[in-house]
């Protein structure tokens, strides 16, 4: 998944990631190791990655200085609407999640927003979200330099077509099938009859991940570096 996401970040100059997002974080750091892109990790104490505090991140996005950002969701639908608020009838919901955080803004301002959710099930990928914390598409007159770019899950990578307001399967992760993705997705999406397979990282990338990326990620995400990438940190 790290490599697949890094492929989606190609050409980005400044990537922002949440401190609780080690997989997108690793992908961003892989892009950094490859191209020198700037990576900001929200909540990181490391001077190399930290953002200037809360308000600066949103101002930077408003200035067009953030090229890519990651967003997750409790529910995501086929028009890329994201629900971070809850399930049921607002406000006394059946399930209440934390809230919209910065999504209702960053989803409009950041050119490449990558939706990331490791769990690919119909619980998450619903026909229609109960609450639109952040809409996937906007009317043509609404100022929106940014929006959904791709969706990465444990099964596949999809790209989002903003004009059509639909996802299209880009690749299946090795060992998974189109049927499995359709079975676990509550909305319709486009796909070739014989979809591509997500490429495995080449040896150079593997060594970058085990080297530079593992070293860099151990600061902001020590547990992930230890458990998943097999490093003990700096």
């Amino acid at each position: 998944m790290i490599t697949a996401i890094a492929g989606l970040l190609e050409g980005c100059g400044h990537i922002a990631v949440g401190v609780l997002s080690p997989i997108p974080g690793s992908a961003a750091l892989l892009t950094r190791a490859r191209t020198g892109a700037r990576v900001s990790i929200i909540g990181s104490a490391d001077p190399e990655f930290r953002t200037d505090g809360g308000v600066d991140l949103f101002d930077s996005a408003g200035q067009g200085r953030i090229d890519a950002f990651f967003l997750s969701g409790g529910q995501i639908d086929g028009e890329a609407n994201v629900n971070l608020t809850g399930i049921g009838e607002y406000p006394e919901l059946d399930v209440r999640w934390s809230g919209a955080f910065g999504s209702a803004y960053l989803y409009f301002l950041v050119p490449r927003v990558i939706l990331f959710r490791a769990e690919h099930t119909r619980r998450i990928f619903v026909p229609r979200v109960d609450f639109v914390s952040a809409p996937g598409t906007s009317a043509p007159n609404v100022y929106r330099p940014g929006g959904p770019y791709a969706l990465v899950t444990n099964l596949c990578v999809m790209r989002f077509d903003r004009a059509a307001a639909r996802f299209r399967l880009q690749s299946l992760h090795p060992g998974h099938t189109l049927e499995e993705v359709r079975d676990n997705t509550g909305f319709d999406f486009d796909a070739a009859d014989d979809p591509a397979v997500t490429p495995l990282p080449d040896p150079t990338t593997v060594s970058l991940i085990r080297g530079d990326v593992a070293r860099d990620i151990a600061g902001p995400y020590p547990q992930f570096a230890r458990d998943v990438l097999g490093t003990t940190g700096p």
Partner: protein, 278 residues
Amino acid sequence: MADLSKTRILASADELAREVPDGATIVVFKDSGVPMETARALIRRGAKDLHLVTVPTSGLFADLLIAAGCVATIETAGVSLGEFGPAHNFARAVKTGTVTIRDSTCPAVYAGLQAAHKGIPFMPLRGLIGSDLMRVRDDYRVIDNPYGENDPIVAIPAIRPDIALVHVPLADRFGNLWIGRAAELRILAQASARTLASAEEIVEDNILEDERLAAACLPRHYVSALAQAPRGAWPMDMPGRYGVDSGHMRGYAEQTREAAGTAAYVRALVEAAPAAAE
């Protein structure tokens, strides 16, 4: 008439908490010194009907005040315990309607406070149009950008809290606060009618006279009262001083999963002596 009085130096967070009347609108920053000791003092004094504005989100601070029944309304972009999981008391109170929720998004909270900071009635903000937040927040309006053609933009009304609650690493006995990289505290303080501060350490010398410290200070004119509260952010972290108490946070998250556990946690907290008297 403003600023006639000097900053009052109080003996403890409990005295600070007595300066917060029931029903007050209070505002708190999400990190870089969360005034947890002041939150516990508010619970010990039995504060009621607070209107809590979180900048822009919150964790334990909001969840605990809600757990103890101090909060009537919360305006927030999100409440979560972060790596320790969901904020159960927040979620429960919103689902049962015991707390009124005013859902927002991070930059909208900043925009409202910055409007108050600049003395303007509203701040324009991109994004938001088409989000259900615009449906549930009827105080957010869509206006025309006077410099565009058919270009709608959201107006966020000024948020003017009664009291900013802040916790800082360092202050001096005149009431000047060193806020470090948490420049947001300046926005909180200037948008609010009054600021009540706790500090890890209160020094004798005027910190404004040290050019390196002065660059990141909030001057005493904004600070109504100040109390020392060593480890005042515990169990959350104070950057450069101490880290988060993960064991306590995990225990809190686990214990407050059900309402009975929450009640026991709050009861123990109220019965405990205040930190300053330990």
